[in-house]
């Protein structure tokens, strides 16, 4: 039983071990890829100086607010278009049109508009998270089982109580899929935006380190992005577990 729990860790540990080993005996040049111990030392030093925490904190804030703004607008528009045919015919085709523009293609114009200030990152992250949440909210509400709505009608539910007790919970699994997807996009957008146009954050830390050939800090930044991405995915999963307890997938 214990062995089974160790199983997923074997491959990463072996990889890390051989990485360290091959670096130490000189098979991997430190100028190509710094070894794990060096990266760890760099992390410790940057933490001591306070720079690491500051950069991680600013990146996390950007991710959070961009997600809240973009996801919030996406959710509201998804609700409106899902619930009202009029809103759908008014807005949906325009939104679908804009969706075809890759949001990262807007970076040049975003820099012209906002420079490399916070607005630029906020705008890009918000734009990136808007679409998955919009689409999944819209789709979730549209695919609510009509027979459940009919049943609820027979039992006297309409208006707000119909929405809160039937439509929203039925759409929630789909909305949460959108949330997880959007969280992934949040970090991808932020990596690009901070690398190209920023004077703080993890991406800036990486680009700065590149200037001084601090390869260990560059790799550290990549690992930090990976960890933060994983962390938000775990959070999303916990939210799913909490709110979809009723779902057969989550029944023990």
């Amino acid at each position: 039983m214990k062995f089974k729990r160790l199983l997923p860790w074997i491959v990463p540990i072996v990889l890390l071990g051989s990485w360290q080993l091959f670096s130490s005996i000189g098979w991997i040049s430190n100028r190509v890829l710094p070894n794990p111990i060096d990266i760890f030392t760099a992390a410790v030093e940057l933490t001591k100086s306070g720079q690491l925490v500051a950069d991680v904190w600013i990146s996390t804030q950007r991710a959070f607010w961009g997600f809240v703004v973009g996801g919030g607008i996406g959710f509201l528009l998804g609700l409106a278009n899902g619930l009202s045919k009029t809103a759908e015919s008014l807005l949906d085709s325009s939104i679908q049109m804009i969706r075809n523009i890759p949001h990262l293609a807007l970076i040049p114009i975003v820099i012209l508009w906002f420079g490399i200030e916070e607005e630029a990152k906020l705008f890009l992250v918000a734009l990136g998270t808007f679409f998955p949440i919009y689409l999944n909210t819209f789709h979730g509400i549209r695919s609510v089982d009509k027979s459940l709505i009919e049943m609820a009608n027979v039992y006297g539910l309409k208006g707000l109580s119909l929405f809160l007790e039937v439509i929203f919970p039925a759409a929630l699994p789909s909305i949460l899929v959108g949330v997880r997807f959007a969280l992934g996009i949040t970090w991808v957008t932020l990596i690009v935006a901070e690398t190209i146009a920023s004077n703080s954050g993890i991406g800036y830390m990486a680009m700065n380190a590149r200037e001084f050939m601090q390869l260990d800090v560059v790799v550290l930044s990549i690992i930090l992005y990976a960890l933060l991405g994983k962390l938000s995915d775990i959070t999303a999963k916990l939210v799913e577990k909490r709110f979809l307890k009723w779902h057969p997938t989550y029944q023990k």
Binding site: S147, L148, E150, M151, A152, N153, V154, Y155, G156, L157, S161, E165, V166, P169, A170, L172, K245, W246, H247, P248, Q251
Partner: protein, 266 residues
């Protein structure tokens, strides 16, 4: 069925026609239902029996004809009626007791434990519908309908998906609750034996028309080995099959349901 309000009509359907896209699903239905009756509507699938029930519930509009509920023309939903659907239609994100309490005011929700006890699910009030068996789900659906104390209970093949033993338990339960609460029941089913076991009047619909209207005067609870019972069943089956087949006809309804034999009583 000795009731003082016997022969008072709760439903009067006259000349009801219902068509979908120009195709007549119900052609000239005349049906008067008295208070306290237990009516079973049988027929092959696609004969229009479910449509008839949905019309009575106010879920479908009639194309022409008149439908009086307790003497007044039905507009919109039938407020006297609660419906039990074939697939249960429980809300999976609500615990059993919240499903039963759907659409109730908070003081009315005090009835939930009582009604759950009546359907034999007192112990399961706090579980998700996903963990219930098919029979238990339909018990919850029955409780959800009965907590409103409806004058008219509409049952749209509610037992069609259950195994034979669970179905017999449900027959007993429905019969007991009907006797106790004295509502009027209309049961749509394709199971002729079920119809004869429960109803005091069996109606056969074929291609949108009532072709048979048969009173059942057997005492409750009904013994299926009673020769009168079997002869009624085969009389209806013969009419459905359109040929003179004898008593062995009812064996088909028995055979098709005996696959699963687990008795689940909560």
């Amino acid at each position: 069925m000795t009731k003082d309000h016997k022969n008072e009509p709760i439903l009067q359907l006259d000349n009801i026609v219902k068509s979908f896209d120009g195709k007549e699903v119900l052609k000239k239905i005349d049906l008067h239902v008295n208070k306290g009756d237990f009516i079973a509507v049988v027929g092959k699938s696609g004969c229009g029996k479910s449509t008839l029930l949905r019309i009575i519930a106010g879920l479908e509009e009639i194309s022409s004809g008149s439908l009086l509920v307790d003497g007044t023309e039905l507009k919109g939903r039938n407020q006297l009626a609660k419906m039990m659907f074939q697939d249960g239609r429980l809300l999976p994100w609500k615990k059993v007791s919240d499903n039963v309490g759907l659409g109730l005011k908070s003081e009315e929700k005090k009835q939930i434990p009582t009604i759950l006890k009546q359907v034999g699910l007192a112990e399961r009030a706090n579980v998700w519908p996903a963990v219930l068996s098919g029979g238990q789900k339909q018990r919850v659906a029955l409780a959800r309908a009965l907590i409103h104390d409806p004058e008219l209970l509409l049952l749209d093949e509610p037992l069609g998906a259950l195994d034979a033993l669970t179905r017999m338990e449900m027959h007993e339960l429905i019969e007991d609750l009907w006797k106790e609460k004295q509502f009027t029941a209309i049961l749509v089913t394709h199971d002729v034996e079920e119809a004869v076991a429960l109803a005091n009047r069996v109606i056969l619909i074929e291609e949108g028309e009532i072709v048979m209207d048969l009173p059942v005067h057997l005492p409750y609870p009904r013994q299926r080995d009673n020769p009168l019972f079997s002869s009624l069943v085969s009389q209806i089956l013969n009419r459905i099959m359109g040929k003179k087949r004898k008593v062995e006809a009812n064996l088909t309804t028995l055979a098709k349901t005996s696959t699963s034999a687990s008795v689940r009583r909560a």
